[in-house]
């Protein structure tokens, strides 16, 4: 099975602090990591490879610094790595990003594509599903468990808030991985040496331009634009109702919900 895992290098939000003046994230000096959901995707892919054979290719769109994320994936056991990096790709929103990655995937080839559910810096959860749509393949997001049935069929447990679905899907398809899908292994000390001995294929604009519409990439090709990122202001302490019967409490709560136009 040729499995391709799409990963993103993100700032380690455990280390990120808020600028008290502007209420935005301070990114300088923050270490970079592989997005958690994506890393579980890598682990799931490596497990599938151990079960049924095949290869695991890892793809990352990002600046040249993303090289170290790909080396980490190789050191975990992935077979080959691609970095999608070009000036023309900069400023891409989720649509443009998915367009670029899908174009690269068509060139690389795949039986199964795994992406993370969402990145901890963007939090949109859009890129995985957009890639699937672009490629015209079926998708299952929020994958909690993957089982292989026969040569080209997967059975996937899809998580919801209060339930799950068991879904059968034929390859080729795309899955978005939850962090719960698999507990990622560490890099192997020797795997790191092997990782740096391998070549990472860099695909830039020229490598993909035959199939890429320049109007759909980069800042200009992005239908959406991130205006500002900020954390929510802390809410007030709230109101505690004491010495009320359950019926009185319900009446009060309904009144408040109506006041705030929630119902």
């Amino acid at each position: 099975m040729k499995i391709v895992v799409c990963i993103k290098q993100v700032p380690d939000t455990n280390e990120v602090k808020l600028d008290p003046k502007t209420n935005t994230l301070i990114r300088e000096g923050v270490p970079s990591i592989i997005n958690h959901d994506d890393k579980s995707g890598i682990e799931a892919a490596l497990n599938l490879k151990e079960q049924v054979g095949g290869t695991v290719t890892v793809v990352c769109m990002g600046p040249p610094q993303a090289d170290v994320a790909l080396r980490e994936a190789l050191a975990m056991g992935c077979d080959e790595a691609y970095l999608l990096s070009a000036r023309e790709f900069g400023g891409s929103d989720t649509y443009a990003t998915a367009t670029i990655i899908a174009t690269a995937l068509q060139k690389i080839g795949y039986d199964l594509v795994i992406t993370g559910r969402q990145a901890i810096d963007g939090d949109t959860a859009q890129v995985g599903p957009q890639i699937a749509e672009s490629l015209g393949i079926p998708q299952i997001s929020y994958a909690e468990e993957i089982t292989v049935e026969g040569k080209d069929t997967l059975v996937v447990r899809r998580q919801y808030e209060d339930r799950y679905h068991i879904i059968e899907v034929k390859l080729p398809c795309l899955l978005t991985a939850l962090a719960e899908l698999a507990d990622p292994r560490y890099m192997h000390a020797g795997g790191i040496i092997d990782a740096y001995a391998k070549d990472i294929t860099v695909l830039g604009f020229d490598d993909l331009k035959d199939s890429l519409n320049p109007e759909h990439i980069g800042l200009k090709g992005s239908p959406t634009n991130v205006f500002k990122s900020f954390t929510k202001q802390a809410k007030g302490a709230g109101t505690i109702l004491t010495d009320v019967s359950p019926d009185e409490a319900v009446t009060e709560i309904i009144k408040k919900l109506e006041e705030k136009y929630i119902i």
Partner: protein, 380 residues
């Protein structure tokens, strides 16, 4: 001269750091209290290559260098010095003897499982009456047909409680003094090998460290390392390399302690302010970090010299001499910075101070380090 780590080393260091924080740190306190090393943790260290770093892929090792091994020792020891010595004795002492002096058959049979994650090794040199005076070996190996019969007692054999392979030393010809000592590879299953109870110690309490007695242990001639009489040379060569590991361990113990103390002083308030805002505290921390950095660079230098096949012995001895004293001083000052809480077993800092002491003693005492260093300076 480039003092920066390569990309490979940086990523390896990152891996060691994450492993130590996530896998070792949560177990360290309990292992120290119960004096039992976690075999599950040992298996994980084997699985991710922490136990085979400076050995060739040809034998199933990681294919790394001594600098990578020193980085591993530091990151691991920041969290737990017992894990550090478990790795070090296995790597620098047991494995390196076979790697440097083993025949091809011995390497395939014994080195491979030691470095590919399957087996753990230990090193039996010290005896109740032979410590710094290693030449005073009383354990005997007598040739009997196609095997040697070994009798004697070794003490302070780290890892012996769970080791599979024992690299040990015994007298084959007492009349030749140091040139009468030979080295042997003994397997745990060989009849007559008895591992005693864990010896109760001040520090590195989680590490397995026992008395091992050899009662008429029959060891095939093929298991002798090198020629008869090579034993002392083999033992000393292993210890030369081991010193780099111990220096790195000392650096890790000290840095781990200082990191904890810094966290504490940034939180702790007395006299209306955080104690980190007092200049005395700031100056003390500056001194401690300076000394840790100095020891680290000496350790890296010794490791790089070994990797470049230079005569690294005196450099390694200097690194261990300096780093071990530094670690004791730094840990004592860190306990002081943390005051009463520094003295409580609830915090890891008192364990760091107890652990630091042994780095001035094992794998060659500080006094022996001075013998090595002054000997290399040709002043007498």
């Amino acid at each position: 001269m480039d003092f920066k780590l390569s990309k490979t080393h940086l990523l390896q260091q990152e891996m060691f750091r994450r492993f130590a924080e996530n896998e070792i740190k949560p177990l360290a306190e309990e292992m120290d209290e119960t004096e039992v090393y976690s075999l599950e943790l040992l298996a994980k260290m084997h699985k991710y290559g922490l136990m085979g770093i400076p050995f060739s892929k040809e034998y199933g090792g990681v294919g790394g260098d001594y600098l990578a091994y020193a980085l591993c020792m530091e990151e691991v020891s920041k969290m737990d010095a017992s894990s550090g010595i478990t790795i070090s004795v296995h790597t620098s002492l047991a494995c390196s003897c076979i790697d440097s002096f083993g025949t091809e058959e011995q390497k395939q049979k014994y080195l491979r499982p030691l470095v590919d994650g399957s087996k753990t090794g230990c090193y039996g040199l010290t005896e109740p009456n032979a410590g710094s005076d290693a030449a005073g070996q009383q354990t005997k190996a007598v040739l009997d047909g196609d095997s040697y019969i070994i009798n004697g007692t070794k003490i302070f054999t780290t890892n012996s409680g769970f080791a599979d392979i024992f690299v040990m030393f015994a007298m084959t010809d007492k009349s030749l003094g140091t040139k009468g000592i030979s080295a042997f590879i003994v397997e745990k299953e060989m009849p007559g090998l008895k591992v005693g109870q864990n010896i109760k110690r001040m520090g590195i309490r989680a590490a397995s460290n026992c008395e091992v007695s050899y009662e008429n242990v029959r060891v095939p001639v093929e298991n002798r390392l090198g020629k008869e009489g090579d034993g002392f040379k083999i033992a000393m060569k292993a210890l030369d390399a081991g010193r780099i590991g111990i220096a790195a361990q000392a650096v890790g113990i000290a840095q781990g302690a200082l990191n904890e103390a810094i966290k504490y002083v940034k939180e702790r308030k007395q006299f209306g302010k955080r104690i980190s805002s007092f200049q005395n505290t700031q100056f003390k921390i500056a001194e401690l970090q300076t000394n840790i950095d100095a020891a680290r660079l000496m350790t890296w230098r010794a490791a790089s010299m070994k990797d470049n096949k230079e005569n690294f012995g005196p450099a390694a001895a200097m690194a261990k001499l300096f780093a071990s004293k530094m670690a004791n001083d730094v840990c004592r000052d860190c306990v002081q910075l943390m005051g009463g809480y520094g003295y409580c077993r609830e915090y890891p800092i008192e364990r760091a101070l107890r652990d630091a002491k042994i780095t001035e003693i094992y794998e060659g005492t500080s006094e022996v380090m001075k013998m090595v260093i002054s000997g290399s300076m040709k002043i007498f």
